[in-house]
Amino acid sequence: MDKKIHILPLNRIEGDLKIHLEIGDGVVSDVRSSGIMYRGFENIMTGRGPLDGLVITPRICGLCSTAHLKAAAKALDMICNVTVSDNAKRIRNITLIMEKLQSDIRHAFFLFMPEFTSPCYKGSPLFEEAVRRYEPLKGETVIQAIRETKKLLEIIAILGGQWPHSSFMVPGGTASVPSANHITQCRHLLRDFRKWYENRVLGCRIDRWLEVRSKSDMEVWFDECKAHQESDLGFYIRFAKEASLEKTGKGHGNFISFGSLDMPGSTDTLNMRNRIFPKSSASSKMFLPSGFYTSGRNGVPGRIRRFQQEKITEDMRYSWFNEDECAKHPFDGMTVPYASGSEGKKYSWVKAPRYNGLPAETGPLAEMIIAQHPLFTDILNSDGPNVFVRELARLVKAAVMIPVSELWLSETACSREDFFRNYGKIEEGEGYGLIEAARGALGHWVKIKRAKIEKYQIITPTTWNASPRDTDGIRGPWEEAIIGTEIRDIDNPVEVGHIIRSYDPCLVCAVHTICV
């Protein structure tokens, strides 16, 4: 028997999201994902001072303001044609990593795992343990994560003044000049966090986890000792198996990454990178490479292609904006909100970004696939993308990022180099800043004319993941991932919640993408 239902709104995500589902015979037959708030953000940028993006764009998102700051600063670096010093690169990288780690941990334990305490799991032998760990504001892991993630944000405050919403990155480097003592304080804070992450989240030392390079390695790791099974990662593996999370949320199978973390000219992290990512094609300029992965089809394996930002376009056929005649690159698109609202085929305030005409998933899993991390490549090749591996990538990202940050901190403490290089006056130019935020690929495209912002366009990670259909009728990534999902209880389709949350949605970011 066919039945239509709506879920609205999905809570415990960043922002407002409505999912319209059609379910027939217990299987999702159609889906539309709607961002239901419009903030009209970039339009207020036009005519403003050339540096205003550094102050205003962090205010797009209370959870990833440092990421927007970095993208804005990089766009201005390009416009000013200034080379950033190694010290400034490291400080920018470290603060961005700290923000990403707090976001990953908070997402996992405040937003994703609490769904395991849903009434539909009451019959599960793991239900009580899930409640003990993840009950909102009360679960053991939740309480610890509240305390521990604050230490990461203290590091940002020491290096950048405050979190959220500072503006310490400027074209040419950073305005802040941390002393060796400041750096030492940061190292102590990070060591505290590392201890907790190893004890509670992994159940082992980071070095041990980094030995896990395949699915079978992961099974060996899991069986090795009780500490592994009883850590939050161990619990996640146990719960995911029972809830069959590896069987849902496949999607299109395309991935995009803008590449992560600008490498300082002289750094030992290069060796570390080459050890953890032996097949990575990254240059010595970036810690993790940019790239576009096209899904394998009909026995042909998937392929990583070189990333070119010119191939990005935004389509608005199904978004509440007046349409251009065709999808355009962010430097060229014109966007006007389509005020007549909710009738007709348009259904979202999120636009539909495409790469070379294709939809693509972005986020920690995409980063790992494009950097050819052995474990994630192995899982992808044997199971395809799914909810389990998507969240796994987020949960263990810290195992790579903590050691890298430690190394960069000690390199900064030993260096006498400047943090800022003068860039002169900004009169004209265009530039872009492409980075990897907690949720994936984030881009700012900026044009300056007569010392004023002429155009400011932003594509956030969730815009990629939450995009509606495009002109060809091709669904957005998480829409596609929901299609065909078996729903056990039509009144509580928790499976759909898992799928969407595995992308770590941030709608406050996604719903303001209007260019001027």
């Binding site: 409505k18 998102c61 937003l111 509240i146 950048g160 003044g161 305005a175 800022f420």
Partner: protein, 312 residues
């Protein structure tokens, strides 16, 4: 008797929520228990099915469930053309829910500059406004004469974001029915009775007019880099951020994010001036006196400051 709280996220970045998670002694997990606050609803924390949410809203609006504290984060979006459909909740404009809950609440808190004064969105096409102010002007969404059941107007806690201590401090005072003295723009004097400049570690550079002209220098950022510290009220340098620092302490100018006109219409990172003297002078200072004073101060500056040898 326990006091209840309903948190609504409107047109904003949810930064006030994440700022609240910075709270320390008590942290956010302890805070509600310790003060015996029943959290009826918070969109980033609560776990309620759609049915339960709708039931709760129904009971609040009918009066079957009393509402002690309504906390709103983000601006009220009224566009386009007053319809409010740029921001939707439960299939209706969210602004209608704000209006209905406001009628029932004993106290209303505007957390952050967007909810207080409209913030970033008030310059855009979303027709966004603060709850009881639109920028400098009284009125906003609820009207200039609005008072909640307690007799208080909307209690404004501006800041982008609002500091966690200001939110938890205000809630603590309200819950224990201690008096909360409000200043201009209906902000509590406890946190908005002082300038951001107070407590800045660069204050000596300001006194003697030793100026910072480029990023990374030691000096005062008021004269060239657009610092709003002496112009704008707020506790950033008194209570510090994340227990550690503030923007001005690390060499980032204050952007005046607690002021009704934030984000200002003139460029950030530069000081508007006439012949080298800032157009906007420290709050309440006369121009003639200021010129004489700063001239003498610069002449009197000790060598350790002029050589920028002091720590910051």
């Amino acid at each position: 008797m326990s006091v209840n709280l309903y948190w609504l996220q409107c047109g904003g970045c949810n930064g006030d929520t994440w700022s609240l998670f910075n709270a320390e002694s008590p942290d956010i997990a302890e805070f509600f228990d310790l003060l015996d606050i029943e959290l009826l609803w918070h969109p980033a924390i609560s776990d309620k099915s759609l049915e339960e949410q709708e039931k709760l809203n129904e009971c609040l609006l009918s009066g079957d469930q009393r509402l002690d504290i309504l906390c709103v984060e983000g601006s009220v979006i009224r566009g386009p053309g007053g319809t409010g459909i740029y921001d939707e909740a439960y299939g209706k404009p969210k602004k209608d829910l704000v209006a209905a809950l406001a009628k029932r609440a004993k106290y209303i808190i505007a957390a952050g500059t967007c909810a207080s004064f409209g913030g970033v969105g008030a310059y855009g096409e979303t027709e966004a406004t603060g709850l009881q102010f639109l920028k400098w002007e009284k009125g906003g969404f609820l009207g200039k004469d609005f008072k909640s059941e307690s007799g208080y107007p909307v209690i404004n806690l501006p800041g982008c974001p609002c500091h966690c201590d200001v939110i938890t401090g205000t809630l603590s005072l309200l819950v224990s029915e201690m008096p909360l003295e409000l200043g201009e723009y209906n902000t509590p004097l406890e946190w908005y009775g002082m300038m951001v400049h107070q407590g800045c570690t660069r204050d000596e550079y300001h006194e003697y007019r030793v100026e910072e002209k480029r990023f990374g220098e030691k000096g005062c950022m008021f004269f060239h880099l657009g610092c709003h510290g002496p112009l704008v009220k707020g506790p950033c340098n008194k209570i510090l951020w994340n227990r550690r620092s503030s923007k001005t302490r690390v060499g980032v100018p204050c952007f005046g994010c607690t002021r009704p006109d934030f984000p200002q219409h003139y460029p950030f990172f530069e000081t508007r001036n006439i012949e080298g003297i800032p157009i906007e002078l420290p709050d309440g200072v006369g121009r003639a006196y200021y010129l004489a004073y700063k001239g003498m101060a610069a002449a009197a500056a000790p060598a350790r400051l002029k050589k920028r040898k002091t720590g910051i």
